[in-house]
Amino acid sequence: MSKLYGDPIEVWSRGGQPVQFVWRDRLYTIREVQDHWVVAREWWKTSDNDPGERRFWRVAAATGREVGTYELRFDTAGGVWLLLRAWD
């Protein structure tokens, strides 16, 4: 079962792909991108001309020896990363 979080996190990317992130003061290294998709924002509900899109990554990441699956989300408009869910 996954748990829902929605915590802001800090992420390092390379070539448009996340490679490491810090969540609750621990550093996670991404071993594998399992899935990646995007969702356009519901622009008709905002007054912005282009509210951007949300990019999702489902990754396998490790902190020390513990490996888990995490879902990360990047908001192109705000430039903010969130950790949405974790299976750990």
């Binding site: 990646h36 998709w37 969702v39 356009a40 008709w44 001309n49």
Partner: protein
């Protein structure tokens, strides 16, 4: 590595789905370095011809396919296959034409439209299979299991859905069924970065390879750029008629755009999970499939081969060449052109030989035979039929009876219509009675059969109002609000919405500039020009042979006519021949008039053989009494005919040619009129140019003259001259022609100053000239309508009122009839018909001079159909049941609805029967009134229990006591006429305001000529017309005509006064205006308006506060324009020939206001009471 090829691309011709035009897609593909591009529009090949042309222009190879709904999929039995999974969206497949499969693709699309409801085509696997392997239609006999079609099964197909639903067994079974039905099936994988997209793609790829089926990669393209996805979302919502919601959009991401090779490489790596070999295999197969489907552009668009286009011609059954020659010989005899030794005969023989040479060289003999057969067919049905356009310049057309205009008599040239140098096909246009146009289509279909004939279609595109409606609905605005917002806009392009908001005074103050609507307007502008609906073209008919269906897909029109999916440009490019059969209301009106003359007077008139030099008719025209006549009834034309004073058919031809934006604004009119009336010597640059220019006194009016001048000066021949003439329309073209013309003319021995002067003439007028053949074709019905008006006024007006051919609403025509001495007879249940009828009346009063008496002795009877809201069935019953003995009898036998009966009583339809008359005294004890009768209608309705729940016992009727209710006053009667019939029948509406108008000193129309030039005066009247035509200064100028029962008053509102007048001019019906008198001619006066008021406002003010209050308002100075700028904004449009135009010219006011629906005064009638121009008649801006 070879470039990527997009095999699944929707253009804007996927209605309410695609966002990019074929040309933009081809250009982008070429920029990406791609060597091929497929267009696979949804549901049809609407964009195919444009795609093939665009690819040809960009040097890339076209591929064409179609994206179709799939129904009744293969019956495969796997566990759990019974339930229909996924969302309710239909399955779709893409079918590509292989290199030899264009005809098959056309037939498949036609079949898909035949299977589905109109607008909802679909295919079944069987239909696709039948076409692909050639058991259907023309493909039969290719044998060998070859396929002319390639089927792509993508994520939206039945196979793709099964994979997405993780029903792999079902997917496998479905793919297997497809593979055994259709030889060339491939799996299409797509990843638009949506949730699970890549997963589905990977598994579809796995399925394909495990079964040995090839797979291709596409991007399911519908955008040019990612930023277009908002427009796509709006279209998705508009197509489904629902507000925007994530559930209602087809693509939750913005990735469905025409990606370049690098971006597609990223996609392929995602799908192949980084497996490079797999990626290479997928891309390689994509290319192999594309190469199998490469099309030869010239085969589909024969006109790309300018030298020797392969045309699609009708079959005649015998060799058309000798047949046409024979028919022309017969024609010479019939038209009296076969007398040996006569000069005309010699001329005709020479001309005929030259025309036949070109026709035969272009292999068009069969076309002419076919068109002549069709015009014969139309005439044999008793339908009036006239040739229009440049086709009137051809002697062949005259000889074989397509047209009735003798080109030799009027000096018309064939080259303007068909010449060796002219690329493309000749266009023969014929005008028929508008009311019989569809009958003509049916007859043509009957004669040539469904397989060889189709109507031409046209795309209706998004404009400001439709775009606002669709975006507003998608954004969830309440329907009522959307309606108000949309109607506030004039008929402008969607791209002009925000500009119009800030430019037009009447919109600036409307409150629509609200920030909350900003998104709606921004998106509505993005829809600008996108096709939204396919419709029957108003006149084009394709005539081909039995293989027409291999050349164009055909669907059913709304009225169930077979309709090509190509528009008129596509049709020509595709080498298909079309005939324009245009419905002309004036032809219907004249046919109706002739029937009325025969019915009332027992005289049968052959309108085509009435003398064409009738003095009385020209007298009518010369005095400007042309209201109702074809082509010459507008205020501007009435002024021009009064100045030009036509006396012959040729004068009418010149008049029609001159009354166009170009000649009017480049001031060709003045030198012509001066020379015509002898104020100025005609100016000929050279003696040799006297002949071609003499007919118009040295001014170049006609295209034909341009051709002759060029030919005389250079000796290049008329065909070459026609090429040069076409180039004169643009500055670049003029430069090129000049560089060619000047040395050639000097080489022919003309002196440099002569060449220079001749060039100046061509330069100034060449681009504006008018095709004389066209004008000559128009002049005939113009003359005929004037002849009818002069000699059979009542019948003429009956035709005009019944078929409404002109620009004016009924009340204006009716008033003109009244002024011509025709008696206006009220609605009468015992005398009215379904349409306007002429009646003999006792000629009363003294004989009038001038034209006031031309209609004397006849009346016009208001018909039942004029009653607002009446149904056709009611009209028929009412006319059939005559005579009636009482209201109850009428009610019983004609069975009109209650509101209709009440309206008929209110406008006096039973006055004669029951001896009623409106007016004073209002209280008439013991005497029946209209109001009593209306009450009786209610009683009858209740008694017959029609439409009511509580039925009364039979035989019970309420007793209405005569005189219980007051009679209508005359003003109330006219008000009722305006509201119910849309016209003031019993008397002119302005008459009720005489007291006020006299008190403030208004000048009447008949007294205008007596006012001195420059005087500032007040006028008043009912608005007859507003126009905002193209004028030279590039301003938006409003021309308004008022009518005050003594004649018309023409007012001009320049931009400087529009800030305080535009809303009133557009928004009111009865107007008082202050203006300065301008004498425009000996008998012509117009006013430069300074201010205007709604007469009803003044009337109320007068009643409430007295005359001084009115005078105070009239003497108020208009408020100074605010800082935001007065008048009309917007950059004027500059045409290539240097002619400037306001972006709002010919567009005018908001249509709601204009059509009389948006009135500010509740007492103003809610019917269209005046004319306003719409659409543009100006030249088209050069594409630069």
């Amino acid at each position: 590595m070879a470039p990527f090829i997009h095999l699944h691309t929707a253009s804007a011709y996927s209605l309410r789905y695609g966002t990019a035009f074929p040309d933009a897609l081809a250009r982008r593909a070429a920029e990406h370095g791609m060597d091929m591009l497929a267009l696979t529009d949804r549901d049809g090949l609407y964009g195919a011809i444009k795609h093939v042309q665009a690819c040809h222009d960009r040097g890339i190879t076209p591929i064409v396919g179609v994206d179709l709904v799939l129904r009744d999929g293969h019956a495969v039995s796997v566990p759990g296959s019974g339930k229909r999974g996924g969302n309710g969206e239909p399955r779709r497949i893409v079918v590509l034409a292989r290199s030899d499969g264009w005809a098959t693709l056309c037939r498949l699309v036609t079949a898909a439209h035949r299977l589905g409801e109109r607008g909802e085509p679909y295919v079944t696997p069987e239909t696709v299979a039948e076409h692909a392997v050639g058991t259907a239609g023309i493909g039969a006999g290719i044998g060998g299991g070859g396929s002319r079609l390639t089927v792509l099964l993508g994520p939206r197909s039945d196979v793709g859905r099964a994979v997405a639903e993780r029903r792999d067994d079902r997917a496998r079974a479905l793919l297997d069924a497809w593979r055994s039905a259709v030889p060339d099936v491939v799996v299409e994988v797509t990843d638009l970065y949506g949730y699970r997209d890549v997963n589905t793609a990977t598994r579809m790829l796995g399925l394909a390879y495990s079964m040995g089926v090839p797979a291709v990669l596409t991007n399911d393209v519908r955008y040019l750029d990612a930023a277009d996805h908002q427009v796509g979302n709006v279209l998705d919502a508009a197509r489904r008629l629902v507000p925007l919601h994530p559930r209602h959009v087809d693509h939750p991401t913005a990735h469905a755009y025409l990606k370049d090779g690098r971006e597609m490489a990223r996609v392929v790596l995602r799908i192949c999970g980084g497996d490079l070999d797999l990626a290479e295999r997928l891309l390689g197969e994509t290319r192999r499939v594309a190469e199998r489907c490469a099309l030869d552009p010239v085969e589909i668009v024969p006109l790309l081969d300018a030298e020797n286009p392969r045309l699609h011609l009708p079959e005649i059954g015998e060799d058309p060449v000798p047949l046409l020659r024979r028919r022309c010989e017969d024609g010479l005899r019939r038209r009296g052109l076969s007398r040996p030794g006569s000069a005309r005969t010699a001329d005709a023989r020479g001309r005929l030989a030259a025309e036949l040479a070109i026709i035969e060289k272009k292999r068009l003999s069969g076309y002419f035979i076919t068109v002549a057969d069709i015009t014969d067919l139309i005439r044999s049905m008793g339908v009036r039929c006239a040739i229009r356009g440049s086709g009137a310049g051809s002697l062949v057309n005259y000889l074989i009876g397509i047209g009735d205009v003798d080109p030799l008599e009027h000096g018309l040239l064939m080259e303007r219509f068909l010449s060796e140098g002219r690329r493309g096909l000749p266009d023969i246009d014929v005008d028929v009675e508008s009311a019989r146009r569809l009958d003509c289509y049916r007859a043509i279909l009957g004669r040539y059969g469904e397989t060889g004939v189709a109507c031409v279609s046209m795309m209706e595109t998004y404009r400001a109002r439709s775009a606002i409606r669709d975006v507003g609905a998608a954004m969830g605005l309440p329907p009522h609000e959307i309606d108000v917002i949309a109607k506030a806009f004039p008929h402008v392009r969607a791209g002009q919405i925000r500009a119009a908001l800030s430019d037009l005074p009447e919109l600036r103050d409307s409150g629509l500039n609200d920030r909350s609507l900003e998104t709606v307007f921004r998106l509505a502008e993005r829809l600008d020009g996108l096709p939204r609906h396919i419709a029957l073209h108003p006149c084009g008919v394709l005539i081909g042979n039995s293989t027409l269906r291999d050349r164009t897909p055909v669907e059913r029109s709304m009225l169930d006519f077979p309709m090509s999916q190509f528009d008129k440009d596509d049709v020509e490019q595709a080498g298909l021949l079309k005939l324009d059969v245009l419905g002309v209301r004036m032809q219907s009106a004249m046919a109706y008039s002739l029937r009325e003359i025969e019915r009332v007077d027992g005289r049968k008139i052959d309108l085509d053989s009435v003398p064409r030099d009738d003095r009385d008719t020209y007298d009518l025209i010369r005095t400007g009494r042309t209201l109702g006549c074809f082509q010459i009834e507008s205020p501007g034309q009435r002024e021009l005919v009064a100045k030009l004073e036509p006396r012959t058919m040729h004068d009418l031809i010149v008049d029609i040619s001159l009354f166009r934006p170009g000649p009017v604004n480049s001031d060709m009119v003045t030198p012509y009129l001066e020379a015509r009336h002898g104020f100025r010597e005609p100016d000929y640059p050279h003696e040799k140019l006297r002949e071609p220019l003499r007919e118009t006194h040295g001014v170049v009016v006609f295209h034909e003259q341009v051709l002759r001048v060029v030919d005389v000066m250079t000796g290049c021949g008329l065909s070459e001259a026609e090429k040069a003439r076409r180039a004169l329309g643009t500055p670049d073209g003029r430069e090129a022609v000049r560089a060619w013309f000047v040395p050639l003319a000097r080489g022919s021995g003309f002196a440099p100053d002569v060449v220079e002067r001749a060039w100046r003439v061509l330069d100034a007028f060449g681009g504006f000239g008018f095709c004389k053949a066209h004008a000559a074709a128009f002049a005939l019905p113009t003359y005929q309508s004037a002849w009818l008006k002069r000699h059979h006024a009542a019948a003429f007006f009956a035709g005009v009122l019944t078929h409404e051919p002109g620009m004016y609403p009924g009340r204006v025509i009716l008033d003109e009839a009244r002024q011509c001495g025709v008696d206006i007879l009220p609605l009468d249940v015992n005398h009215s018909g379904g349409t306007w009828l002429a009646e003999r009346t006792p000629a009363t009063g003294h004989s009038e001079t001038g034209h006031a008496g031309i209609g004397r002795g006849y009346g016009l009877r208001v018909p039942f159909s004029a009653v607002k809201g009446v149904s056709e069935a009611e009209v028929e019953r009412m006319a059939a049941g005559q005579p009636y003995t009482s209201l109850a009898d009428f009610w019983e036998r004609a069975r009109p609805s209650r509101p209709i009966t009440e309206r008929i009583v209110a406008v006096g339809g039973l006055d004669a029967l029951h001896g009623l008359r409106p007016g004073e005294p209002r209280w008439r004890p013991g005497e029946l009134t209209r109001r009593d009768l209306i009450a009786q209608v209610g009683a009858l309705d209740r008694a017959s229990g029609r439409g009511t729940a509580g039925q009364l016992p039979m035989g019970f009727t309420e007793r209405v006591v005569p005189g219980e209710l007051p009679e209508m006053s005359e003003a109330e009667a006219v008000e009722a006429e305006l509201a119910i019939l849309g016209m003031d029948v019993s008397r002119h509406v302005i008459g009720f305001h005489d007291e006020l108008l006299d008190a403030i000193g208004v000048t009447r129309s008949r007294d205008l000529l007596r006012r001195r030039n420059g005087a500032e005066i007040l006028v008043a009247g009912a608005k007859v017309a507003t126009q905002t035509p193209a004028v030279r200064s590039g301003q938006r100028v409003i021309f308004t005509t008022l009518d005050d029962s003594t004649g018309p008053i023409d007012l001009t509102f320049f931009e400087s006064v529009q800030a305080h007048t535009a809303a009133t001019v557009f928004g009111s019906w009865l107007l008082v205006a202050k203006g300065v008198v301008r004498r425009t001619g000996a008998r012509a006066v117009s006013l430069r308006a300074l201010s205007c008021w709604n007469l009803l406002d003044l009337d109320r003010l007068w009643r409430d506060h007295g005359i001084d209050a009115v005078r105070a308002v009239l003497s108020e100075a208009p408020a100074p324009p605010d800082a935001a700028g007065a008048g009309v904004g917007g950059r004027s449009i500059e045409y290539a020939n240097g002619y400037r135009l306001s972006p709002y010219s010919d567009i005018g006011p908001a249509p709601g206001v204009r059509e009389g629906r948006f009135l500010r005064h509740p007492e103003e009638p809610q019917r269209r009471l005046w004319h306003a121009s719409s659409g543009s008649s100006g030249p088209t801006p050069s594409a630069r």
